[in-house]
């Protein structure tokens, strides 16, 4: 059980935008990999970007704002949330793989059911973005809704490029993350040596 102030501070510790930048960049790279028919490369993107979470926090966030040590209850909650997100992400990956097999077996034309199926990756990405709520980052629900909307729009318009839908979702998240990060960096300039 954590205190309301701990939860509020914890939520605010994700308001710098770095999480959004990494998530958006990941989606853009995955989308580009799909567009280039290099889907395996896209699957490697989350693992390739993961180390940059800590690198970016240390380089951009901590010298400006620093960060407290949250208690063990909050850390356990974070571990559970991140584990849930990873499991969900793996589920999304497997479903997308099944989708690919389905599309490949049906040939390159995506008529009939394929028209609906082409929006599924973006819809799954949208559902995955909702996982940001586990960290208290409510804007991720808006990102998720946008990605789901794009998936539905893609299915409705009959696009045959699911990668483009993921790319567009990523561009939105990246742009919002960039704006948040820029605002954070302007609001909190680098600190000099501290003195208590």
């Amino acid at each position: 059980m954590t205190m309301p102030m701990t939860r509020a501070l914890y939520r605010r510790s994700f308001d710098d935008g770095w999480l959004d930048v990494l998530t958006g960049l990941g989606l853009v790279l995955i989308g580009l990999a799909w567009l280039a028919d290099q889907i395996v490369l896209g699957a490697l993107v989350p693992a390739a970007l993961a180390p940059f979470w800590t690198i970016g926090r240390r380089a951009l966030v901590e010298p400006r704002l620093s960060s407290p040590q949250f208690g063990s209850a909050q850390q356990a909650k974070t571990r559970r949330a991140l584990t849930g997100w990873l499991i969900f992400g793996a589920g999304v990956g497997l479903t997308e793989l099944a989708f690919l097999i389905f599309v490949n077996r049906g040939g390159t034309g995506l008529g009939g059911v394929g028209n609906v199926a082409v929006g599924i990756p973006a819809i799954l990405v949208g559902l995955g973005l909702f996982a940001g709520l586990m960290l208290g980052a409510k804007r991720f629900a808006a990102y998720g809704l946008f990605a789901i909307g794009l998936g539905l729009a893609g299915a409705w318009t009959g696009t045959d490029r699911p990668g483009l839908l993921i790319l567009l979702s990523g561009v939105l998240v990246l742009a919002c993350g960039g704006a948040l990060l820029a605002r954070f960096m302007m609001r909190y300039p680098m600190t000099g040596d501290e003195d208590a």
Binding site: L9, S66, P68, Q69, T191, E194, D195, A196
Partner: protein, 122 residues
């Protein structure tokens, strides 16, 4: 007026610890109570206090045994780690309870239902 005639809530509020009750120090203690430990920069950002002002308040809190201050280095940068002491936590909570009892007399305290709803939203 004999002390027996004073309402206990008023007696308690008159006896509030002024070291804790000062707004900036109250905020510092509340922030430190909600985390395991924090450093000087984080506390400065969270309170909006200047470096000198925060140092002065921390000095008073440390002298009163409410906060522990540990100086060290992170790489080449000096780093001051701050924690609320068990005594500080107990005194802050006691002070909070006294204030809540007092404010309850003038209907300022939010209802339990409203508190619960607010907590659930967060």
């Amino acid at each position: 007026m004999p002390e027996a005639g004073i309402l206990p809530e008023i007696r308690d509020v008159l006896a509030l610890d002024k070291t804790i009750h000062e707004p900036a120090r109250l905020a510092i203690l509340a922030l430190l109570l909600s985390v395991d430990s924090a450093d000087f920069t984080w506390l400065m950002r969270q309170t909006g206090l200047t470096q000198g002002n925060l140092s002065a308040h921390l000095g008073k809190l440390e002298a009163a045994g409410l906060v522990s201050v540990e100086k060290g280095f992170e790489g080449k940068r000096p780093k001051t780690t701050l924690r609320i002491t068990p005594d500080g936590a107990a005194r802050l909570q006691a002070q909070g309870k006294a204030l809540i009892r007092f404010l309850g007399l003038i209907d300022i305290r939010p209802s339990r239902a409203a508190e619960k709803r607010k907590d659930m939203r967060s």
